[in-house]
Amino acid sequence: MVENRPWLNFLAHAVLIAGVLAVAFPLYVTFVASTLSFKEIMQVPMPLLPGSHLVENYSQVLSGGTTTGSKAAVSHMLVNSLVMALAIPLGKITISIIASFAIVYFRFPLRMFFFWMIFVTLMLPVEVRIIPTLQVITDLKMNNTYAGLTIPLIASATATFLFRQFFMTVPDELAEAARVDGAGPMRFFWDVLMPLSKTTMAALFVIQFIYGWNQYLWPLLVATDESMYTTVIGIKRMIVGSDAANEWNLIMATAILAMLPPALVVVLMQKWFVKGLVETEK
């Protein structure tokens, strides 16, 4: 920094450490809670050191959910979450990249019409058209299917724009060179454009993985069958599922399981995550 003022540096570290602790505190309590027995967690105040029921709680939720609420096994929910978290980014990347390819590299009637059609979808978040969209899913008999869970979420203007913007920065000469080399459009797409888009795809993948994993409202409505619950939905079902007290220790164990995969993706793939976040800019 510009001038050397030790107390300012100290303050900066102090604020950051306080921030990190404040941000992490709920996580710590959640973890502790997930290691306690039901009786321990109902004490006021609950213990703030991990208990001895870690294995018990986690194996309980993984195999059989809660004992009083939803009995759906969290292990199965994790699979469903994973399916969503993989299918959404893959689907999104696939349909967006080919659509942007068409819009950037071809001139055809209705090109701008399609472009605006995709752009306008930015203005319609799933939340505001939730009931009619559900109706469409219902009409198509896609309730409680992976297709119903994922397909309506894979169309997005964001990804299309991101690819479009990226394609605009690819030198025209590359495409020309490919044409002279004898590559047709699809060959150029596969051999040149796709490899060049790798980082964009990776960034998008990380962001959309989290988006897919964390979906809430949509699976809440589409996945009414226990076998289709995602982890996030499972937690919600555990809380309001029954007439008895919430088994917070099991709910918290599930919460940890629900947070872990996306958090790991964010932390381990930080570079792509930051790139994706900054570039998609919603």
Binding site: D225, V240, D243, A244
Partner: protein, 436 residues
Amino acid sequence: MKIKNLAIAWLTFGLLSANAHAQTEIQWWHSMGGALGEALNGLANKFNAGQKDYKIVPTFKGSYPESMTAAIAAFRAGNAPHLLQVFEVGTATMMAAKGAIVPVAKVMGDAKEPFEPKAYLPTVTGYYSDLKGNMLSFPFNSSTVMFYINKDAFKKAGLDPNKAPRTWKELIAAAEKLKASGQQCTYTTSWPSWMHIENFSAWHNVPIGTRQNGMGGFDAQFSINSPLHVRHIAMLGDMSKKGLFTYAGRTNQGDAKFSSGECAMFSGSAGAQAGIKKAASFDWSINFIPYHDDVKGAPQNSIIGGASIWIMGGKKPEEYKGVAKFMAFLSQPEIQMEWHTSTGYVPITRASYDLTRKSGFYDKNPGADMPVRQLTNKAPTENSKGLRFGNFVQGRTVIEEELEAVFAGKKDAKTALDEAVKRGNEILRQFEAANK
């Protein structure tokens, strides 16, 4: 390649399992989680084991509103289940959906299975029948609201643990003593509207709404802003201000407050007993809910909560035959007794109540017959037969929002209840218009 193999495996699996369906499957969507769900599965298994033609397939679909939403969506998509467990506030909505449901009486009659509405407790029959006395849905799990006390806390406060407060006056006196003894929370409740508006009205024999609490037609209006209602809610608001009443939330959050020992007195579902038994580390008792002793005729009888089974329309005759068989199976006193004793829900037929009494269950489990005794305290009147308001899911939300305003000290009881009536009536008019 792997995906392809998987797909083939699924296909094969699908074909095989399709071949194995020699039986007629009957889908049953319900909201019984945990121990209740196990008891329910037990019934289904017993039925399935007892005959070969039909197979009941129970599926847990989340909370009551969630399974109802799911069923409505499924109905619109044309794949509704055969049987749907619907909570009591959804009754009017189901009834109005004439094309979506088949009255249980008709299914039983068509299948020539025995079915006698009179066998049920009058409060139960009243709740689920139309005005001509035709049972529309099959009563299944019924409960009512009860009053629980923590005997240890009473002892500590110098109160007689065997004398639970019977009136609100006594309750307030006890609450003050409990508070003086250091009890943080003296009284709380689950399901505030069910307890303090719906059951309160029945218990004091005053109407919740016109047209026999809505049973007489869709043009009913709420009448929960009567002086008695206002007085009761004002009293709760006052108790809340003084720290004698702790609001716990709109659903069953009160259960945990009682079973953890935080609150010494508590009104909640009869079904809460199972949970309290499991979690409470103190001595407790279950009692009749308190009443205002200056109200003539009080206490009357409480009304039921819980759910009934609706039979959805548009299925094959063969399937309805199976449904009827299953309903007949569930009607047997022995089965009813098993359900009652294993879950804590009320026995809903006289026969099963008598059978349970004869079995000595109530001697071994004192208090277990309190709910049914409270439900049958007197012969039900027009005001205590039950209620049937359209869109009551929304109606209840409105009532609860207004109650919360009173408990938080933001509105006085009169204003809040007037507002609840006004907003509630708008919902009723909308329902009336939609179901013309």
